[in-house]
Symmetry: C2
Subunit: 198 residues, 2 copies
C-alpha cells in the first residue's frame, strides 16, 4: 500500500518533471534541476521515484492509457459516429487544457523512452489511431460522415487540435468549453455556413 | 546579371540544403556535408552562395514571400470567403507536397535566422496570419461562415494541414488533388454529413 503522503509527493514530482521536460526537453533536464524545482534534496527525491526514466515512463503511459481507456468508453456508448468523434476531439482538447505539460511530454519526449517501453508506447499510439480511424470508417459506411479518405480525416483531426498545446492558457479570453465547441464546429460541422435550402 | 548556369547550381545547392536542414536540423548540417551532397568542393560552392545563413535566409523568405503574395492574389479575387479559404488551404497543402523540405525548414529552422531577419520573418508570419484571420472575420460578418472565434478557426486550419509535411510522399496511394479536396471537405464542409432536410 502506498501511503497517501508519499503519493502526494510523488505526484508533485511528476507534475514538476512534466513542466521541466516540456520547457527544457527531456535531455535538457537534470534530476538536480527537478529537485530544485520541487524544493527537495535530490537524495530524498529518490524515496519517491526511481529515476528520470521512470518519470518519463509514468508521464507518457498515463497519457496514452487515458486515450486508450476513453476511446474504449466512447466506443461503448450508444451515440452515433459523429457524436463519438465529437467526444474524442473534446477529450484531446480537454487533456491539453487540463494537463498540458504531460500531453506535451507524451507528444514530443516519448522518443527518449528506453526499449521495450518505446515499442510499447508506439504500439499503444498505433492502436489508438486504428480505433479512431475505425470510428471514422464505420461512420462513413453508416452514411453519417462524408465519404473522405479515412487516413486523411484521421490525421487532419489529430493535427487540427495540436496547436492548443502551444497556445492555450487561462487569460486567452476564451474558456475551455468555447475552445472545444469552436474546434468541433469547424471539424464536424465545417466552417462554411450551409446553404439555405430552397 | 547572373549567368543561367550559375543560377542552376545555386538552385541545386538550395534544394540540397533544404533537404539536409530538414533531415539533420540547421545546426546539425555543416557546409562540408552540403558540399558532399551536392558533389562539389566546399571552396567552389562559395562561388554560388555566401554562407549557411544566406541559404537559410533564402529558403525561409521564399516560402514566406510565396504565402504573402498568394494571399494578396486570393484577397483580390471576386470569390466568396469560403472559396478564398479553400484557396488558402489548397496553397498550404500544395506547397508542402511540391516543396516539402523548404516548407519544413521555414516551419522549424526559421528560429536560427540572425537579426534583423529573424524579426522580419516573424513580422511576415504575423502579417500572413492577420490577413488569413481577416478573411475568416469578413466571411463570418457576411454570413458565409459559421460564427466561431476567429483565432480558434485560424489556428485550427493552419494546424490541421501541418501533418501533411510529415506524412505525404508519392506512394501513399493518394494524389495531391485528393489530399487537398479531402482536407478542404473536412475543414470547410465538416466531416459530418448534413441532415437531409425534411
Amino acid at each position: 500500500m502506498v501511503k497517501p503522503k508519499k503519493s502526494g509527493k510523488r505526484e508533485l514530482i511528476l507534475a514538476e518533471a512534466a513542466k521541466l521536460f516540456k520547457d527544457r526537453g527531456y535531455s535538457g533536464t537534470s534530476m538536480r534541476d527537478l529537485a530544485g524545482q520541487v524544493g527537495m534534496e535530490a537524495a530524498s527525491m529518490y524515496n519517491h521515484i526511481k529515476s528520470k526514466d521512470e518519470l518519463l515512463d509514468t508521464i507518457c503511459f498515463r497519457i496514452s492509457d487515458t486515450y486508450i481507456s476513453q476511446l474504449a468508453e466512447i466506443e461503448a456508448t450508444p451515440s452515433g459516429y459523429a457524436d463519438k468523434l465529437r467526444a474524442l476531439v473534446r477529450l484531446h482538447i480537454r487533456l491539453m487544457v487540463e494537463d498540458g505539460a504531460a500531453v506535451s511530454v507524451a507528444n514530443h519526449d516519448w522518443k527518449y523512452l528506453p526499449e521495450p517501453r518505446l515499442g510499447e508506447f508506439k504500439q499503444a499510439r498505433k492502436a489508438y489511431e486504428r480505433g479512431f480511424a475505425a470510428l471514422i470508417e464505420a461512420g462513413i459506411a453508416a452514411g453519417e460522415l462524408r465519404p473522405v479518405n479515412v487516413s486523411v480525416a484521421l490525421f487532419t483531426m489529430l493535427s487540427a487540435v495540436r496547436w492548443v498545446e502551444l497556445w492555450y492558457r487561462p487569460g486567452r479570453g476564451i474558456s475551455a468549453e468555447e475552445l472545444e465547441s469552436n474546434i468541433i464546429t469547424v471539424l464536424l460541422g465545417g466552417l462554411e455556413q450551409p446553404m439555405p435550402q430552397p
